[in-house]
């Protein structure tokens, strides 16, 4: 039997973005801004933690940006944007009330199936710099439901105290107590910083965890993964218990354009959240 060029279903809106209005903008650091947006044409985004959007500024282009808020039943969502390319720099010049265009949510995040395996476990978030933006979508989901988990530990490392994102939320997180703890470190301390100083891996020995009963979520700059993974494996953490969230050049978001393909894996489809055991042999990912 011949394979025919039979017509598969076309998605006429595949590359057509929808409107979102900027509701709130806050300066986080010199280079990072917080945006709260509202969808104008749909009741809710319908994402799972860890997914991303393609955000357009018309005439400038499109860039992949993590969704920073927990799944919600309303039309609002958050992003944190580092001004680094044309689109993100332009986003920084926009004002409350301006319209941007989005496609998505895209990618594999922490879906219901993954989340259910976390129940009753110790959740260990290991976050570097801007990595807080994507993981906040999960942290802000699990912290209000903290009774469902054995413990929630957030380890957060930044270059300096000025680079801390969501500073007031971090302060609140540190005050919750009970089974929620926040440990922070900076690479370079200044006069305003009284906490730990050193790379993120220096926080790992400070946490008391049973590797078999713990699920780790690791997000940060590319260089961080190697060291954090090594530290966790030395603590006998099973590879299946480690999730990583990776940044690549996602252009189309739908597994076609090829930019984010690392060996056989399209990060925009199978990632950006990966179970470490499933991708440990992929040399381009790690």
């Amino acid at each position: 039997m011949r394979t025919k060029l039979n017509l598969r279903e076309s998605d006429p809106k595949l590359y057509l973005p929808e409107r979102a209005k900027i509701l709130k903008i806050k300066d986080f650091t010199e280079n990072e801004k917080f945006f709260e947006l509202a969808l104008l044409d749909r009741p809710k985004l319908g994402h799972v933690p860890g997914q991303f959007l393609q955000v357009s500024v018309l005439g400038i282009g499109e860039a992949p940006i993590s969704i920073s808020s927990a799944p919600a039943e309303h039309n609002r969502f958050d992003m944190c944007v580092r001004a680094i390319g044309d689109v993100t720099k332009k986003l920084h010049t926009l004002n409350v009330g301006d319209i941007v265009y989005i496609r998505g949510p895209f990618g594999n995040g922490f879906a219901e199936k993954t989340l259910s395996t976390m129940l009753g476990k110790h959740l260990l978030f290991i976050v570097g710099g801007l990595g807080y933006a994507p993981l906040r979508s999960l942290i802000n989901k699990v912290v209000p439901e903290r009774d469902k988990y054995k413990k929630i530990s957030v380890l957060y490392g930044c270059r300096t105290s000025k680079d801390r994102m969501y500073a007031h939320e971090l302060d609140e997180l540190s005050k919750i107590g009970g089974n929620v703890e926040l440990l922070e470190t900076v690479d370079k301390a200044d006069e305003n910083w009284t906490g730990s100083c050193g790379v993120i891996t220096t926080l790992i020995p400070k946490i008391d965890f049973n590797p078999n009963e713990t699920i780790a979520m690791v997000v940060g700059p590319p260089i961080m993964y190697k060291f954090v993974l090594k530290a966790l494996l030395e603590k006998n953490m099973p590879k299946e218990n480690i999730y990583i969230d990776l940044e690549r050049r996602m252009k189309c978001g739908v597994g076609k354009c090829g930019h984010c393909q690392m060996e056989g894996i399209y990060v925009c489809q199978e990632g950006p959240v990966f179970n470490y055991a499933e991708v440990e042999k992929n040399e381009e990912l790690l």
């Binding site: 011949r2 598969r8 076309s10 998605d11 590359y15 940044e247 252009k251 597994g255 354009c257």
Partner: protein, 342 residues
């Protein structure tokens, strides 16, 4: 391959007349001559068709997936719409390697997240293939990757017989095209079988890689084989191999305002995983920063990563990249180096 039974035969004269008739309703692209080049291009008259196949620089994928394509239009006051363009088109005389390429392109663009720009063109296109009786060129290696016969990607397939062609019908679209445009007569039924016997004799001992089915495994085991650096060190990262490839479909997307800043468009254009900036991200990190890594990636797409998805080698052996590569890099030679034939 099991023998196909043709329903119809057509004389060459009737075929040309049919194409002429179709020109009233379709744009017809066929192998043709322009200056010093043989290429697939839009023809105005069937007399322009070149029947004696010579390898072209670009594959006919450009008709489904053009070099540049506007996918979105918008105005400064925020009106935004998808731009999806297609014209009724006949692609005539497409060869088995490129037909297999169409099949792969189709799975890539349409299996999930059906690409509207691509599918609109497929919907409006009638693909008429012509089987190859002999190996077209010294650089072609379709027979090594199981692509000398088309396994799909066409509506009608023509097999050369005395004074004309036997026609295999693959789709309703093909059958409607025959009844509307082609004057045919009934076939005996054994025409394709005899064409294939003749083809088998011409191809002689040129057989598929011994380990064709096992290529993904072999490539997986040979991530660090010396061949990558041997070939990669010569690579110019010029992207030629990708531009000419019938199964490469990576693209880039860019936005552009018109000079008056009142209207703008989003354009996708062919991109190439072999050029240096392809896998670089905003922060400056380049995840495939040497030509060796990039070559490894491209060849693995053909024989490993995507081969698993498409269940066939994603290199169709047309030989265009071999001809285009000034540094003399060949996917066939790389496959052989890691044991495809031993």
């Amino acid at each position: 391959m099991s023998a196909q039974t043709p329903e119809f035969v057509i004389t060459k004269k009737d075929l040309l007349q049919g194409l002429d008739k179709a020109l009233a309703d379709y744009q017809v692209a066929a192998l043709t001559k322009k200056d010093d080049r043989v290429l697939y291009d839009i023809i105005k008259s069937p007399t322009e068709v070149v029947f004696d196949y010579q390898p072209t620089v670009l594959s006919p994928k450009k008709f489904f997936f053009p070099q540049d394509e506007t996918i979105l239009e918008y105005t400064a006051d925020g009106k935004i719409s998808a731009k999806i363009e297609a014209k009724p088109t006949v692609l005539f005389g497409i060869r088995p390697c490129d037909l297999n390429g169409f099949k792969i392109l189709h799975e890539a663009f349409a299996d999930d997240h059906g690409d509207p720009n691509y599918l609109a063109k497929v919907e409006q296109t009638v693909v008429i293939g012509i089987d190859c009786e002999k190996i077209c060129d010294k650089d072609a290696f379709c027979f090594k990757v199981g692509s000398q016969d088309a396994t799909g990607g066409f509506d009608l397939m023509l097999y050369e017989i005395a004074d004309g062609y036997a026609i295999e019908i693959a789709t309703d679209k093909g059958s409607q095209f025959i009844s509307k445009y082609l004057t045919t007569s009934k076939a005996n039924g054994d025409e394709i079988t005899s064409c294939q016997a003749k083809k088998a004799a011409n191809f002689g001992q040129e057989k598929p890689f011994k380990n064709l089915a096992k290529l993904p495994e072999l490539f997986e085991q040979n991530k660090h084989h010396a061949v990558w650096d041997q070939e990669g060190s010569r690579c110019l990262s010029c992207g030629s191999c990708i531009m000419v490839c019938p199964t490469c479909y990576c693209f880039d997307v860019g936005d552009e305002w018109q000079l008056n800043l009142k209207k703008g468009e989003r354009v996708r254009k062919w991109d190439a995983c072999m050029v240096t900036p392809f896998a670089a991200v905003g922060s400056g990190e380049n995840f495939r920063h040497t030509a060796t890594y990039r070559l490894h990636h491209r060849i693995n797409r053909k024989f490993n990563f995507l081969m698993k998805k498409h269940n066939q080698a994603v290199c169709v052996g047309c030989g265009r990249c071999v001809r285009a590569c000034l540094a003399d890099i060949s996917p066939k030679r790389i496959a052989e180096a890691i044991g495809a034939d031993s």
